[in-house]
């Protein structure tokens, strides 16, 4: 039986994190993500977990990695400017394979931007924000129920792949109250994955030696006998720095491939009225909500429109986007930035369908009638 509860987006994220087993949170106040930290400050001590408000965003990310190395499921949350500050240690987490979840409740940017208003300007930064090559999973839910699902999924994949996972929300989602069916989140019903532990005795233990899935089994710090070293420098299987070119190349390829090779399993989308669609919208987060209504409005007018709502932003659903491009006459990518994910959609479409843009970066959402107008323009053969 459905168990309905009215939930606030940011609180849902915090509650789901605790359900997923999160027992470490380090944060720093920033609008519009602060309610996640506030909820964690309330929940974690009661669960025997760690909550700490750090001196800055950099430290919050650093402490999160420290907590993760201690063996706890760890999370931090922030928004635009804070996400920029976290990039240094997010790159470190990627390099040392520290499982953690980094939430970015997107607001208007660049710089201090529009702190209290919505944006989707970190689609590219979520993957490419830190220096050096990187591939990490990035999830972007579209409603409060899904915030809970995706938060749990983010923790599961972080632990399974020993990687940071970025969970993108946006100001509208974070500050939205919506009904959530809590039945699926009841005790025992939530699927939880934990990180693997070393299977070898301490004398054979090599913390950074990958197993078949490309993921090493690193023991939590403090596990008797399983001492090890971790560094942001290129390193060998012992975790010690190396400049051996073969070892360095192998390391970076493995770090990228352990995520990229799981793309099919990581992929999650919602296809809405795409079966006979001639115009497809590709959207995510808050904008996808307006796009869904726009699809219905277009259909009322006899235009065969459909929506692919992307939930796993990175690694991108390359094949799905390519197949979509082959099956429609045009693709429209509305997003609250000046054209970011559209670049990825264009790349994946490989010219099979023209890709149109609808962009906005002024803190306001894109309304359904605006998307509809754009669809009509495309259908009429405009641009």
């Amino acid at each position: 039986m459905a168990k309905l509860e009215l939930k606030y987006g940011n609180h849902a994220c915090a509650e789901a994190a605790v359900l997923a087993g999160c027992r470490f949170y380090a944060g720093y106040p920033i609008t519009p993500s602060s309610e996640i930290a506030e909820k964690m400050a309330e929940l974690l001590p009661k669960k025997g977990g760690v909550f700490i408000q750090m001196e800055d965003e950099i430290a919050a990310m650093g402490a999160t990695v420290g907590g993760s190395f201690a063996g706890l499921k760890a999370m931090t949350a922030t928004s635009g400017p804070g996400f920029s500050l976290k990039q240094e240690n997010l790159g470190y987490a990627f390099m040392v394979e520290a499982p953690c979840v980094v939430v970015n409740v997107q607001r208007g940017g660049p710089s201090t931007g529009l702190p209290t208003q919505v944006g989707q300007q970190e689609i590219m930064q979520s993957l490419w924000g830190t220096h050096g090559d990187k591939m990490i999973p990035v999830f972007y839910p579209g409603n409060v129920q899904e915030i809970m699902e995706e938060t749990i999924r983010a923790f599961n994949w972080a632990e399974r792949l020993r990687t940071p996972v970025v969970l993108l929300l946006d100001e509208v989602l974070g500050h939205m109250r919506e009904t959530v069916d809590m039945e699926q989140f009841e005790e025992g019903k939530v699927e939880i994955w934990d990180r693997k532990m070393p299977k070898v005795p301490p004398e054979e233990y090599l913390p950074y030696k990958p197993e078949e899935d490309g993921v090493p089994a690193i023991a939590p710090y403090g596990t008797p006998g399983y001492r090890g070293h971790a560094t942001g420098l290129h390193h060998d299987y012992t975790g010690f720095p190396t400049t051996d070119p073969e070892m360095c190349q192998e390391l970076i390829e493995r770090l990228i491939n352990k995520v990229k090779s799981r793309q099919k399993e990581l992929e999650r989308n919602e296809a809405y009225k795409l079966d006979d669609a001639e115009v497809a919208i590709v959207a995510f987060g808050t904008t996808a909500r307006a796009a869904k209504t726009a699809v219905d409005l277009a259909r009322e007018k006899g235009i065969k429109a459909g929506l692919l709502r992307v939930i796993t932003i990175w690694p991108s659903p390359e094949e799905t986007l390519y197949e979509l491009a082959k099956s429609v006459k045009a693709i429209l990518v509305p997003e609250l930035n000046m054209g970011q994910y559209v670049l990825e959609v264009e790349r994946c479409a490989k010219g099979e369908a023209p890709v149109y843009r609808l962009n906005r970066a002024n803190g306001k959402i894109i309304y359904p009638h605006e998307i509809l107008a754009k669809i009509e323009e495309i259908v009429k053969g405009g641009k």
Partner: protein, 285 residues
């Protein structure tokens, strides 16, 4: 220098603190005459005397010459990003308060890029032992001016001599809330061991500043041989008790060494946190 030919058991018998070393990772990257090795040895000896096993120690560092120390230490070691070691260590120590957590850092790492993390860790009085190698310069990047480079000294970025004032590390730490503050030098090796030992024993934030010669970079830039640098520490520092007896006018240019500040009355951060959790969760961890 490769790994010694003696079997490990024989070495440990003679020098028990060798059990903390990752001998297969040696030789170290440090230059001849560098003082970091002295501080590292003092730390290992202190741990041995305190009977703390390898499995009970986490060593965390940032970036720089001194921050390479954890790589040679056979414990749970984390070589993190520039200046951020106190943040990582705070997370680790909060989650694993049972681990003796030692930080190796330098004047640039702890006081410039990591200044904020350093003072906040001190403010919390979290039980970290920070061994700050103060060699007056950025050694690893080739000799740039640091927040402790003496006035008038030459660095690659002060070709006409340094004209910036310096941090007084001990005063900074005390003002920020550190509850154990000491200063030693790489010349006074056994005294340094004692200071580090007491710092590890202390429940709360401990800072041990280690005046240490950067022989190759600072020494060359400022026309000092490594012997001159070690003797400089001998001539220009004195035990804090002796320093206190000096009349004000004779203190100029003299640096006090030893225990500078000790306060056992303030509660330690992880103890406060976990006792709160215990009360709220009924002991569940």
């Amino acid at each position: 220098m490769g790994a010694p030919n003696l079997p490990m058991e024989k070495i440990v018998e003679k020098k028990p603190y060798f059990k903390y070393l990752r001998l297969n990772k040696m030789p170290t990257i440090w230059c001849p005459g560098c003082g970091i090795g002295q501080a590292f040895r003092a730390t290992c000896m202190a741990l041995d005397e305190l009977g703390i096993s390898n499995d009970q120690v986490a060593m965390v560092s940032g970036i720089g010459c001194s921050s390479r120390t954890p790589g040679y230490f056979d414990g749970f070691t984390l070589h993190t990003t520039h200046g951020r070691a106190p943040a990582f260590a705070t997370g680790l120590k909060l989650a694993r308060p049972e681990l003796t957590t030692i930080l190796f850092t330098g004047d640039g790492d702890a006081l410039a890029i990591g200044g904020n993390h350093f003072i906040h860790a001190a403010r919390r009085n979290i039980d970290l032992t920070v061994i700050l190698i103060n060699n007056w310069i950025y050694g690893m990047t080739g000799g740039q001016v640091s927040p402790t480079t003496p006035e008038g000294a030459y660095a690659t970025t002060t070709p006409y001599g340094n004209y910036e004032p310096q941090f007084d590390i001990a005063k900074l730490a005390i003002a920020a809330g550190a509850t154990y503050v000491a200063r030693g030098t790489a010349y006074h090796a056994m005294e340094l061991k004692k200071l580090i030992k007491d710092g590890i024993k202390h429940k709360g934030f401990s800072l041990i500043e280690v005046l240490s010669p950067c022989t190759i970079v600072y020494g060359r830039k400022n026309r000092m041989s490594f012997e001159e640098m070690y003797f400089w520490f001998k001539e220009n520092t004195l035990p804090v008790k002796a320093w206190e007896k000096l009349p004000e006018e004779k203190r100029a240019g003299k640096i006090p060494r030893g225990l500078l500040y000790h306060d056992d009355s303030r509660p330690e951060y992880t103890e406060v946190y976990w006792s709160k959790v215990k009360a709220l969760s009924g002991g569940e961890k």
